[in-house]
Symmetry: C2
Subunit: 241 residues, 2 copies
DNA sequence: CGTAAAATTGAGCTGTCTCAATCAATGTGG
DNA sequence: CCACATTGATTGAGACAGCTCAATTTTACG
């Protein structure tokens, strides 16, 4: 039985490559089913620490990285030191679909928590895509999701108030983790610092703090112990629009 | 000689399908060269008037539209009546690359000028992509460009001042038209109303007006007769950051 | 030539920022 | 396991970029 490459059974609880995980992206591209359909991938799993830039702008990558574990963010850094978060990357998700088709990164990828990633070999992944139209469709649907999310963010930053943006972000993250099957009782893991929220919503940490305090005082949310609880989803949704 | 389908020689000066045009997208995907490589397309060219919604949110399209002539914008409309412009679509450009892989539109496409579009049949376009990896690559590069531009817009809206956003937009449009070979002497066609600039930059028409007045007073630009002249590109670039 | 759409200008207002100080939490070396 | 060091959260006071409202002028067009 030498068919499936020897894969370590530990260290990647979210990744479908190891046991029955919850890796959203790999599910998405349909690689969970018939195991032999898996494209060959580079097996090395790389650990990263929290609050580091794990891939740099302009870096050239031969692999297409998928976050196995932990949270990260795609960011653009401005010359004045400020930073815009373009997207949050949750455990199991593809770092950015552009890397399936391009090798040079034009954004930075910053880790939020510590965690790990694995890289697909781009050529082999592309070959797998060529082989299977279904896989192709699923990659493209991952792309569509990314792109739709970018459009929503543009709209939020351009036309929505601070309260709307923050509420929208919380609801959005909740929904995404829900779809990944990652609701833990009545709360979700929430490793974001107020800085992350600020950089994602185009606000200041000081102001984010005030908005969150308002939500907390109104009994809409509770953030503690790196977990977010949405106490009144209806009311929070109402803040969004 | 029945090989090339009978294509009317008029009404689509930018589109490579008719004569030696400048259709950026079709150039991009490599369909200008060996004429027989053209995927079959629906030949009907559709005219549209200025200031209309030409494709509606949630509309299902069998075709993948390319703007032959005129300017349009992808927009999202909020319930309070405000609007965010996600991207400007210039003559010759693909409306949105998402439509190559999906049939349902989740944004509106509003015309700015009058103009026309043609639609590729999605199935046939996909077949052409499957046939030619090069065509595939070029479609994906069109996608990358779109996506990169979205990232830049997010950054502008999240972290840049009004002056920076407006200056950035002007420079960006100038560069895009330059790449399309559409600089006319020392100016470019500029059909945008101040409303469009406001909706693209997340500002108010009143404030856009003040920023433009400042640029004009400082001798950086001149907008008149639906044309934009950049009188001091260096200085204008410097506004962007 | 009249009418509608777009641009311009002014006055005042407010959402969000800056600066600054304090407090809480988290992590680290000894 | 403590004491310190660092990072993050909170709060207040004041400032200002960009908004609203409203009136007027200019431009475009049938």
């Amino acid at each position: 039985m030498t068919l499936p490459p020897p894969v370590p059974k530990s260290g990647c609880p979210n990744c479908i490559l190891v046991g029955r995980g919850l890796c959203g992206f790999l599910f998405d591209i349909g690689l969970d089913q018939p195991f032999p359909d898996l494209p060959p991938i580079s097996q090395k799993q790389v650990e990263f620490a929290a609050r580091r830039t794990i891939f740099h702008r302009n870096q050239v990558l031969d692999g297409v990285p998928v976050i196995c574990d932990g949270w990260a963010a795609a960011t653009i850094k401005l010359s004045d030191g400020s930073r815009q978060i373009l997207s949050f990357i949750l455990p199991g998700e593809l770092v950015t679909s552009r890397l399936v088709f391009e090798s040079q990164l034009d954004v930075s990828i910053d880790s939020i928590t510590n965690g790990s990633y694995r890289s697909f070999d781009r050529k082999q992944l592309r070959a797998a895509i060529d082989r299977s139209p279904q896989t192709f469709d699923r990659i493209m649907s991952a792309y569509s999701t990314e792109s739709r999310r970018a459009d929503q963010l543009i709209t939020a930053l351009g036309r929505r108030s601070a309260v709307e943006r923050v509420a929208g972000l919380l609801v959005d993250l909740w929904d995404r983790l829900d779809r990944l099957g990652k609701i833990e009782g009545d709360s979700i893991e929430f490793p974001l610092r107020q800085t992350h929220i600020a950089d994602a919503t185009g606000l200041t940490t000081v102001y984010v703090n005030k908005v969150l305090a308002e939500f907390r005082n109104d009994g809409l949310i509770d953030i503690s112990d790196r977990h977010l609880q949405i106490l009144d989803m209806t009311q929070l949704q109402r803040q969004v629009n």
